[in-house]
């Protein structure tokens, strides 16, 4: 059992769950229900949300590194 694979798997599934939640919210805001959409359409919506989440994580990670450097964490 590879512990690193477990961590990445958990990380991926957490992102997927978050993307599904966001996709559901987006669909509800549009006045529809997930049942109205085909499997393909749902996959596209979730994929878009997943990409957005990953981009946000990258952006936040960079900001965190900059903040740590700015605050002179080790100094």
């Amino acid at each position: 059992m590879n512990p690193l694979a477990l961590v990445t798997q958990r990380y991926q599934s957490a992102i997927r769950e978050k993307a599904i939640k966001r996709a559901e919210t987006r669909i509800i805001i549009a006045g529809r229900t997930p049942q109205d959409f085909s499997a393909e359409d749902l996959e596209i919506v979730v994929q878009e949300e997943e990409d957005k989440i990953k981009a946000e994580i990258k952006e936040k990670g960079l900001l965190a590194v900059l903040a740590l450097l700015g605050l002179s964490w080790l100094g």
């Binding site: 477990l6 599934s13 049942q35 959409f37 749902l42 996959e43 979730v46 994929q47």
Partner: protein, 130 residues
């Protein structure tokens, strides 16, 4: 002020998340240090008595104890990687999804299982291939 607050928050998050790993690593280092100390004492004792009969064996035992300790540590952390707090939340999530599936068929069930999701462009390319 702000720096201390950020440090404290990060430390508390880090502690809550990796408590079991931090504690087990500390115990491992304590174990390795104790074994080393015991062995050092034995070496000193054998030198004082000029009795080197079991000296080589003591080194073998020491390294076996080191390897055993590290293996137990790796096994414990790879078999039970989640802390106690995380297990109930995961279990709750699973229960929730199961109950949801019972009530209404989950339209996202297939998406959850997929390793990689396809984009609109992927679908278009697939259709053209056909």
């Amino acid at each position: 002020m702000l720096r201390n607050l950020v440090q404290l928050t990060l430390l508390s998050v880090f502690w809550r998340r990796y408590k079991s790993i931090i504690l087990s690593t500390f115990v491992l280092f304590l174990y390795l240090w104790l074994i080393g100390k015991l062995h050092q004492d034995y070496v000193n004792y054998s030198e004082l008595n000029s009795d080197h009969e079991y000296l080589a064996l003591s080194f073998v035992i020491k390294w076996c104890a080191f390897i055993l300790g590290i293996m137990v540590y790796l096994l414990l952390n790879s078999l039970f990687p989640r802390s106690k707090k995380l297990v109930p939340t995961v279990a709750k999530k699973n229960q929730k999804t199961e109950s949801d599936q019972d009530a209404v068929v989950d339209p996202f069930a297939e998406i959850r299982q997929r390793k990689k999701l396809r984009s609109r462009a992927d679908f278009i390319i697939e259709k053209h291939k056909k």
